[in-house]
């Protein structure tokens, strides 16, 4: 701060020195003009303080060196006027210069603010309201403002203010915590920016504060006023993004809820009938058998017990299908794949289907003997085949046969289940695999079986479809990828125990 005074004093001395040598050729008016110019320059270059000192020095110089007699007194009106002019010029000029300088600085700051804000806003509008935008915002702020750290604290659904995104200038210098610091909470509650060691700016859409923008300045400094102003403006834009994001999420949740609701409704509608019918049969027959005052004949008793058995079997299938479906929906149905002979899986499923109570039906199985071992979950694929067979039986006239065939093609094993029932209209060939979807007029079905088949086959990396839709005799096909078959091993060392 002393340097401007020294510079000024040096120039003052230099000018005085030069004029001292030229004293005899100059008159007092010219000397006064030179001093005035010096005061003027001092005001422009060094501001008010130095220029005022300069004007006093100029006055003394003029008085002491160039007026006769050499005295220090302000003796005449003449001298008083020259002092007043020096001081006034110094004062006015420095004031004007100062104002100009301030204007310039302010203009530069405004320009910086505008361009930074523009860049940040452009970044937001380029990527739209997405979680990614929110995640990258702190990075952009750290870059644009050159601050060590920036974090976004956002109001969660449970009412807490939690950090959603954070960025730092240097990696691994995160000082903010997951839970909002006290300043951020204060900013959130008061709707006003809070500046202590760090700056917390509330982000609001209208009257709703959705979160807090938190910025940590370099150690031991405060953020410039312009930066604070910029962050306040920008916080409003971020708030809009976050607000939009929340609305989107709420809409998605509402949609998910609606779908769950729809699922529940259709599940209840589809299943309640199928659950109640066998239950009613069981209770009726059991109640009849428990009547001690009636002497049932052996044949009657057997028939009633058979009815109970049939109903219980049907219930058991339905429950296991429902369980499968809910496991598939929950994504916990991971196949436990081992190498199996597909023919054995088919045979087991067919035995199951044949063992089911009811009118016996012909199930023709024709599988090529050279089918390789397939890696599959035995119970899952058995379930697929059983469901397809049950489906084929249900939708074909009594007495007609069901055919199961298979073929190997291009590294895939394809299994086909065909009945002599009505064709599946091509327009339903896809939707028939949707849960609870039933062909118009189909009876005794729950719309579960094919959905389960699809889920299980796809969990094996396979595919299921309706073959030749529209043609008589519905045919369902599914394929399983053939992984590299295990080698045909000879006897492996180490040698078996005796």
């Amino acid at each position: 701060m002393v340097k401007p005074y020294l510079s000024m004093a040096a120039i003052c001395l230099a000018i005085t020195g030069v004029m001292l040598t030229l004293r005899l050729t100059l008159d007092a008016d010219e000397i006064a003009l030179v001093y005035l110019f010096m005061v003027f320059l001092s005001a422009i270059w060094w501001g008010r303080g130095p220029s005022l000192v300069a004007s006093v020095l100029a006055f003394f110089g003029l008085n002491f060196l160039f007026t006769i007699p050499f005295t220090f007194q302000v003796t005449s009106i003449h001298e008083a006027i020259s002092l007043a002019v020096f001081v006034l010029v110094a004062e006015e000029t420095s004031r004007l210069t100062q104002r100009l300088r301030e204007r310039e600085v302010e203009a530069r700051q405004r320009a910086w603010e505008a361009s930074t804000l523009h860049a940040l806003s452009a970044a937001i509008s380029a990527s739209g309201p997405s979680e990614e935008t929110v995640q990258t915002l702190p990075h952009r702020i750290v870059e644009a403002l050159d601050v060590p750290e920036c974090a976004l604290y956002i109001l969660e659904a449970n009412g807490s203010l939690r950090r959603r995104a954070v960025a730092t200038k240097h990696p691994a210098e995160v000082m903010s915590e997951d839970d909002a610091p006290a300043q951020a909470l204060q900013a959130f509650v008061t709707h006003q920016p809070v500046e202590e060691a760090t700056l917390s700016v509330p982000m609001a859409v209208g009257p709703n504060v959705v979160g807090v923008l938190y910025v940590r300045p370099p150690e031991g400094t405060r953020l410039p006023e312009a930066t604070g102003r910029l962050l306040t403006t920008f916080a409003g834009q971020v708030a809009v993004v976050i607000g939009r994001l929340q609305l989107q999420r709420e809409a998605a949740e509402a949609e998910a809820l609606r779908r769950t609701d729809e699922l529940k409704t259709s599940l209840l509608a589809a299943v309640s009938h199928d659950l109640r019918t066998p239950l009613a049969a069981i209770r009726m027959n059991a109640a009849a058998l428990m009547k001690l005052d009636i002497q049932w004949g052996a044949a009657d008793r057997l028939e009633m017990l058979e009815s109970i058995d049939i109903a219980a079997t049907r219930l058991s299938r339905l429950v296991s299908n429902l369980l499968d479906l809910s496991r598939l929906e929950a994504g916990v149905m991971q196949p436990d794949k081992q190498w199996y002979d597909l023919r054995e899986v088919v045979a087991t499923a067919v035995d199951h289907a044949r063992a089911a109570p009811g009118e016996p039906r012909t199930i023709e199985v024709d599988l090529p003997p050279d089918l390789p071992l397939v890696r599959l979950d035995f119970t899952h694929i058995e379930d697929v085949i059983l469901n397809l067979v049950e489906n084929a039986l249900r939708h074909s006239p009594p007495g007609t046969p069901i055919q199961i065939t298979a073929r190997r093609q291009n590294g895939e094993a394809v299994v086909l289940v065909t009945n002599e029932g009505p064709p599946i209209p091509p327009e339903f060939a896809e939707r028939i695999f949707d849960r609870f979807y039933m062909l118009p007029g189909s009876r005794g079905a729950t719309g579960l079986g094919l959905a389960i088949c699809k889920g299980l086959v796809e969990a094996h990396g396979g595919r299921i479809w309706v073959e030749r839709p529209g043609e008589p005799g519905a045919r369902f096909a599914f394929l399983l990828p053939l992984e590299e078959a295990p080698p045909e091993v000879g006897d492996q060392p180490p040698k078996a125990r005796p």
Binding site: S320, D341, R343, E344, L373, T379, E382, P486, Q492, A496
Partner: protein, 227 residues
Amino acid sequence: MSGARVLAADDDLQIRRALKRTLEAHGYAVRVAATGEEALAALRWNPDVILLDLMLPDVDGLDVARRIRQQSDVPILVLSARGEERQKVLALDQGVDDYITKPFGAEELVARIRVALRHAAGQPAAPVIEIGDLRIDVERRLVTRVGQVVHLSPTQYDVLKYLVQNAGKVITHRVMLQQVWGPEYGEETQYLHVFISQLRRKLEPQPERPRYILTEPGVGYRFQTPA
């Protein structure tokens, strides 16, 4: 071995009742337990075989099995539901002897109990086993089918022999690999499946519908109990 003592642990009253009635009708002495603690306390009764549901209200069924094993070698049969293959394998690895899948019929249950009792009694397997048209002479390493000698490789024979000696009992993939190939094996189930399918081609009248070497999906294999 009628008169044997059976301890049945299941959390469901109806199942306990049904088990007690069925088994008593077959001449067994039956005690039931509704919880794991009750089952463990009933060990003092010295049961000959234990039926254990894995879904008990107080203690995890696997824990109960482990604690029973610490005290006794009594055969344990797990009552399990379909689709719990991983749990079955875990239980078998923990020293459980066998499992039976719900819903099961009385005959199947009694057959399993007999197998368990027979293996527990340490009765040496008969030197010659006949089942269907199959005749296996363990001493002479000779297998005949309808009187015709079946040629088996040494490993095929060892797989068959282990299955036959444990007839009626489930053998997990891991146990089979370790017993036949050696303790360092256990994960190479693909070899086992290949050997089983070779054996079936040689022994079974209908390899795709096996009558002797039965598949226990996701768990292992079981040799059909000879009549």
